[in-house]
Amino acid sequence: MTVDKSLMSGSTTILILKMLEEKDMYGYQIIETLAQRSNDTFNLKAGTLYPILHNLNKQGYVESYEKEEGNGKVRKYYHLTSEGKKLLKEKHQEWITFSSAVNRILNGGVSYESV
């Protein structure tokens, strides 16, 4: 099922941070992993990913480094910093509050947890 893009725009940063929490990844790898984990629900465009990644890098939430792969190709990997981990925690909490509120309304006043 395809999802309205506007629904995804607010959660892209948290999804990228979550991917990087598990391991350091390069841009293409983030998009692929995200698509696989979400059964192709989240098909992030590279043009959306890189500005977000570069902005996170600028703000110190992620760091980048280059690594040479076996085939001689040099890739730019991103690593979640301790500030990035804190941001992920905050965003996660924010998301729980937001999604529970949305669900409460959609379920006619019944909270998500009790459904």
Partner: protein, 452 residues
């Protein structure tokens, strides 16, 4: 159009939207790599190269929008506060030199500061990676130039100067550039593993010997501490290719060799220890060795919070003159003539500059940016600290300048250029990649000959 050219055309369109040209190379490389990865994935799924490339480019999104987004993120970071503090220190220096010695100076005393400001601006706007490109050459050039000057220089009042025509260069001030040159040597040798460590040690000893021959013992201390800091950071970040513990152990060769060289120097120059003894008890010989320190202490005791201080009791009605006030005791002279408030303001400016400098050094990502900015900020901080200690009446012969404030054209120009380079690192360091700096390595061959 050839499929690869299409990829290039896409990244070019993206980069055309980004005003900061320095960022183009890094961004284009990442985008092209991404498209190639995506293209390869489509080829594996059965597409031919042309179709795969077209689909991969389509997946990227609109090049102009992507470029505009990246343009908003990638901008140089001029450190306005540090630039203002630099200008303020220069202004304090020019005014202090003018008011302290009006007899000798007219408005022409501002000329060296205009030159220093020009040098600062040139270095600030210069691409600092040029230093990384010629790292080995710069080290050898500085070494050869200093050795040449030691051979031809003359000692005046315990300090060595080299004169040619109307120009006179103070060698103890010239050595302020050693930590920077040594950081460049570090940078150029960082991939050489054990051989790199051996060459770094040789490089350290050569500079240290030059400093002790001048002699500039406090220049030697500044250089040794900065060299150790560089080595320590390299070891900590694994830039020498060793694990952290092994690297940190190897870093100890710098302090060990510095202590050995210092001991040799003290044994050869026993008078140095006497000087240190009088630094703490100058009143034991207030008319001889400790005269200057006693004078400084008396003047400071009689300094007011605001305004000119009173004449110390032992001088009766004769206002004492501080020898070498502009070069070695400008802080004491400022404090005595204008009050402790002026001293506090200068220290506050230096402190703010140092704290901000250290903060921005820790934010650097590239090896070159880190080593350059670290060696420069440490040289400035240690210089200022030694100068302040001396100006508080602990009679150590300074051999160093108060950055941008005390008189000395060589030191003024060297400090201004170093600050220019440091702020250039802070301005553009974010986007610098060490791998994009093609290194010329003259030092390897020369040092190997020396080893043999």
């Amino acid at each position: 159009m050839n499929p690869y050219d299409e990829i290039k055309a896409y990244s070019k369109t993206v980069c055309e939207q980004i005003r900061w040209k320095k960022a183009h190379k890094v961004i284009a490389e990442e985008i092209e790599n991404h498209i190639c990865d995506q293209r390869d994935a489509y080829i594996l799924q059965g597409d031919d190269e042309i179709t795969a490339t077209k689909k991969a480019i389509l997946q990227m999104g609109d090049a102009v929008s992507v470029g505009m987004e990246l343009d908003r993120i990638h901008r140089p970071k001029p450190q306005w506060i540090m630039i203002s503090l630099t200008a303020l220190l220069m202004l304090i220096g020019a005014l202090a030199n003018y008011f302290i010695d009006k007899s000798e100076y007219t408005l022409f005393c501002f000329a060296p500061y205009i030159i220093a400001l020009t040098v600062f601006l040139i270095c600030y706007f210069l691409d600092f990676t040029v230093l990384g490109r010629y790292a080995g050459y710069i080290y050898l050039l500085v070494l050869a130039f200093s050795a040449f000057q030691i051979l031809l220089g003359k000692s005046v009042g315990g300090r060595m100067y080299y004169s040619t025509g109307r120009f006179t260069v103070s060698l103890s001030y010239l050595t302020l550039i050693f930590p920077l040159a040594y950081a460049l040597l570090f940078y150029s040798l960082r991939h050489m593993n054990y051989k790199g460590i051996v060459l770094c040690e040789i490089g350290f000893v050569l500079f240290a010997v030059v400093l002790l021959l001048i002699p500039s013992f406090f220049g030697f201390i500044i250089f040794s501490i900065t060299a150790f800091a560089n080595f320590y950071i390299c070891a900590l970040k694994g830039w020498f290719g060793f694990d952290k513990k092994q690297g940190l152990l190897l870093a100890l060769i710098i302090p060990i060799s510095a202590v050995i060289l210092a001991l040799v120097y003290i044994i050869i120059n026993p008078g140095f220890l006497t000087g240190i003894t009088f630094a703490f008890n100058p009143y034991n010989e207030s008319d001889g060795y400790g005269y200057l320190s006693c004078l400084i202490r008396d003047l400071l005791v009689n300094s007011k919070f605001v305004g000119k201080g009173s004449v110390p009791y032992r001088f009766e009605s004769n206002i004492p003159e501080i020898p070498f006030a502009k070069t070695d005791y400008i802080l004491t002279a400022i404090t005595y003539n204008f009050g402790w408030i002026a001293f506090i303001v200068i220290i506050a400016v230096i402190l703010a500059f140092s704290v901000l400098g250290i903060y921005y050094v820790t934010r650097q990502r590239s090896v070159l940016g880190t080593l350059l900015s670290l060696s420069i900020i440490l040289t400035l901080i240690l210089q200022a600290s030694l100068y302040i200690i001396n100006n508080l009446g602990f009679g150590i012969i300074p051999e160093v300048s108060m950055p941008l404030i005390s008189y000395g054209k060589t030191a003024l120009v060297i400090n201004s250029s170093m600050i220019g380079f440091m702020l250039s690192v802070f301005r553009t360091g974010d986007i610098i990649k060490d791998s994009s700096i093609s290194l010329l390595k003259p030092q390897s061959r020369i040092f190997m000959k020396m080893e043999n």
